[in-house]
């Protein structure tokens, strides 16, 4: 059997790849995909722990995460679309309405 630590390492690597992608990419679509990667990294960690603990709880949470991620993707994409309609751009540098 493959040891759990492999999955955890994979999860950490994926998570930081996602975070890195979010921080260095400039357009919202790519950043959004990075967030999805981070979510799925967390999912992998959940599954790995669930397997090693022999409990179903982790898997149930993963189902929730996937569901929420689906809903979030729909809303997120809609928001991006609306931003594009208004600003004709999805570059994050150009979107700074919250600047104090």
């Amino acid at each position: 059997m493959i040891p759990s630590s492999y999955f955890i390492v994979l999860s950490i690597v994926l998570f930081f790849l996602g975070a890195l992608g979010f921080l260095i990419k400039r357009d919202l679509i790519t950043q959004f995909m990075s967030v999805e990667i981070m979510l799925n990294a967390a999912n992998i960690a959940f599954i790995a722990f669930a397997r090693s603990a022999g409990s179903l709880d982790g898997q149930i949470i993963v189902f929730f995460v996937i569901t929420v991620a689906g809903a979030e993707a729909a809303i997120g994409l809609a928001i991006i679309l609306l931003i594009f309609k208004q600003k004709k751009t999805i570059k994050t540098e150009d979107i700074n309405l919250l600047k104090g």
């Binding site: 975070a19 994050t92 600047k99 104090g100």
Partner: protein
């Protein structure tokens, strides 16, 4: 039927409610009909209860009815309880009868006024409040009526509120009355503390049981008298009453002559056990009354405004009532209250009739010779003037004589002398008024003369009825010289008012006192006759010889100016200073300062908000890492 006495104040209340809610949609005729009917019903029930009271066994004379328990809190208890004892009976009958006649008179007097319906609503509200005041069986409920009449007085003085002087007069009356009410309230609180209840019966028992120390009794009595002095326009709080003449004349007659202003006298008579026990308080009441009587009478001497003369005369007569109460002759004080209600409202209504005839002219110097144009006003007016002057066999003679005789009998010669001097002045200024208005040369403006007309019957018939009472009301309380047991009035009041120490004078002294008071009354009339009909140059010569005295009197001793300079202006200026320096700077400064601080801090902190998504994400990530680091290590 007697057990329904508690309905007496409810008729005007119901009528007020209907008029206030639906008055706009009701026809004018119905409004006045209903208003008069309500007061008339109160009068009828008053008479029925009065008869029931007469038939009741002596000593069980008071009726009482608790409608509901109003305040119950710890030891403090105030019920909505009405009572009907002899003193209340007198007040209820006076208030409802005079009130009814004045309501009827108002139908004619106010007929052209746009505020017709509002007027009758207020008048009914006033009648209700006044009846509550006199029928309350505890001080708290009495205070409700007390404030109610004060409110109505304010509303009715400022009835023509678009006129600046009327609005100001209403305000003045209200504020001066507040000063008195502060004293009254303090008195009630002291009674609550020391007696534990405010029902008149409880207070009576506590006082006669000797629970209260003399100092406390004096303190309470004086505080209550402050309230009475405010409401009944005594020195030093009388200044509002002359200004109150800005209101419509029926209001002056009902509120500021016959009923409301006598509330103070009623209250002192109601609390007579306190004043009987405390010699100091009694003396203060008598001396203040006597000083007011003569002080106001001198101010009436030089006034040219017909209503103001009557206003000062009212203050002066209220002073006589307080003399009566102060020397322990409460029955005599109430007797004068009762006769005064008739002749003074008669005088006011007749003066209103003159004004009505002269298109609102108030200045007596522009009248004269009206006797032949206004006979139905003239004769009632004359009867009222004779009654108030103390000419024998009219009501005012008996009541004033009863007071002065008692003052003399108690050995209060100073008060008696002031009272006698006041009587000369009273006769003088009343007949000055009569002669200037109805006799002598006509000094009418041609424009006014064209519209000169006698008032309609709806106004003159109440005058005739009041004139009847002004003549005959005094015969219920004849002095002792006419027979031993003819003072029905005093005897009727005995269950409420303890007879006092009972100094009795010899019949010879009584006759002498009566002769003196008749003599001074005739003297006053005679001087007025000489001054204003025979040798009309005398007043002018006097004015020329004593310009200082004349000016002092004409300007009412500059009391209003003095009050303005000493009390009103410093207060106003002080308030302005506080507003400018404390309100605007300290209070507003603190509020604005805290808002500015919050704004400034927001500005500083907002520089952290770069608006760049990546900055937030980075900080978020670093934060998460630090948090995990803290948890793990």
């Amino acid at each position: 039927m007697t057990e329904f006495f508690w309905l007496i104040p409810l008729f005007p209340l119901v009528s007020t409610a209907i008029l206030a809610l639906f008055g706009k949609h009701l026809p004018k005729k119905y409004v006045s009909f209903q208003a008069c009917l309500a007061v008339f019903l109160s009068f009828v029930f008053g008479v029925i209860s009065f008869i029931g009271l007469q038939n009741a066994e002596h000593g069980h004379a008071a009726l009482s009815k608790t409608l509901f328990s109003w305040i119950h809190s710890g030891n403090f208890k105030a019920d909505l309880t009405f009572q009907f004892d002899p003193l209340t009976a007198v007040m209820v009958l006076v208030v409802s009868l005079v009130g009814f006649l004045i309501h009827v008179y108002s139908i004619g007097y106010m007929s052209h006024d746009p505020g017709y319906k509002r007027f009758f609503t207020y008048m009914n509200l006033f009648t209700f409040s006044m009846l509550v005041l006199v029928m309350a069986d505890n001080l708290i409920l009495m205070f409700v009526g007390w404030e109610g009449v004060g409110l109505c007085s304010y509303l009715l003085i400022g009835f023509w509120f678009e006129k600046h002087s009327a609005a100001a007069a209403g305000k003045k009356a209200f504020i001066v009355n507040r000063i008195g009410d502060a004293g009254f309230l303090l008195g009630i609180m002291f009674i609550l503390i020391h007696v534990g209840g405010t029902e008149f019966g409880t207070i009576n028992q506590a006082v006669s049981g000797g629970i209260l120390t003399p100092a406390v009794v004096t303190l309470i009595a004086l505080l209550l008298f402050v309230g009475a002095a405010g409401k009944s326009a005594q020195i030093p709080l009388y200044v509002w009453l002359p200004d109150a003449m800005e209101g419509p004349t029926p209001v002056s007659a009902l509120i500021h002559a016959a009923t409301m202003v006598t509330a103070g006298v009623y209250m002192v008579a109601r609390m007579n056990m306190l004043y009987t026990l405390s010699g100091t308080a009694g003396n203060v009441v008598a001396v203040v009354g006597a000083l007011t009587a003569i002080f106001a009478a001198t101010m009436a001497l030089t006034q040219n405004d017909i209503k103001r003369v009557l206003a000062y005369s009212t203050i002066s007569q209220l002073g006589y009532m307080f003399i009566g109460c102060g020397v322990g002759a409460y029955a005599a004080g109430i007797f004068h209250l009762y006769t005064h209600a008739f002749f003074k409202s008669l005088l006011f209504l007749a003066a209103g009739s003159v004004m009505h005839a002269l298109s609102g002219e108030l200045n007596m110097q522009k009248m004269g010779g009206l006797r032949k144009y206004l006979p139905r006003t003239y004769y009632p007016f004359l009867i009222g003037a004779i009654a108030i002057s103390g000419i024998p066999f009219l009501s005012g003679f008996f009541s004033k004589d009863a007071i002065l005789t008692q003052a003399f009998a108690q050995g209060n010669y100073f008060v008696w002398a002031l009272g006698i001097t006041g009587a000369v002045l009273t006769a003088f200024y009343m007949f000055r008024l009569i002669f200037l208005t109805f006799h002598g040369k006509e000094r009418l403006e041609p424009e006014v003369k064209k519209h000169l007309h006698e008032s309609p019957p709806v106004m003159t018939i109440p005058l005739a009825i009041l004139a009847f009472f002004s003549i005959f009301a005094g015969y219920v309380g004849l002095p002792v010289v006419f027979g031993k047991n003819l003072d029905f009035f005093g005897k009727f009041l005995e269950p409420v008012i303890h007879a006092g120490h009972g100094h009795h004078l010899s019949i010879g002294t009584e006759w002498l006192l009566i002769l003196i008071s008749v003599g001074v009354a005739v003297l006053g009339v005679f001087i007025a006759y000489i001054f204003y009909l025979k040798k009309t140059e005398i007043p002018h010569n006097l004015v020329r010889r004593f310009p200082f005295v004349y000016k002092l009197l004409y300007n009412k001793y500059y009391i209003d100016e003095a009050y303005n300079a000493v009390i009103v202006n410093p207060l106003v200026r002080g308030s302005e200073a506080v507003y400018k320096h404390f309100d605007l700077k300290v209070i507003d400064g603190a509020i604005n300062g805290s808002a500015a601080t919050a704004g400034w801090m927001g500005k500083v902190l907002s520089t952290f908000q770069t608006g760049f998504l990546k900055d937030y994400a980075l900080i978020f990530l670093l934060g998460a890492i630090i948090l995990i680091g803290v948890v793990l290590f």
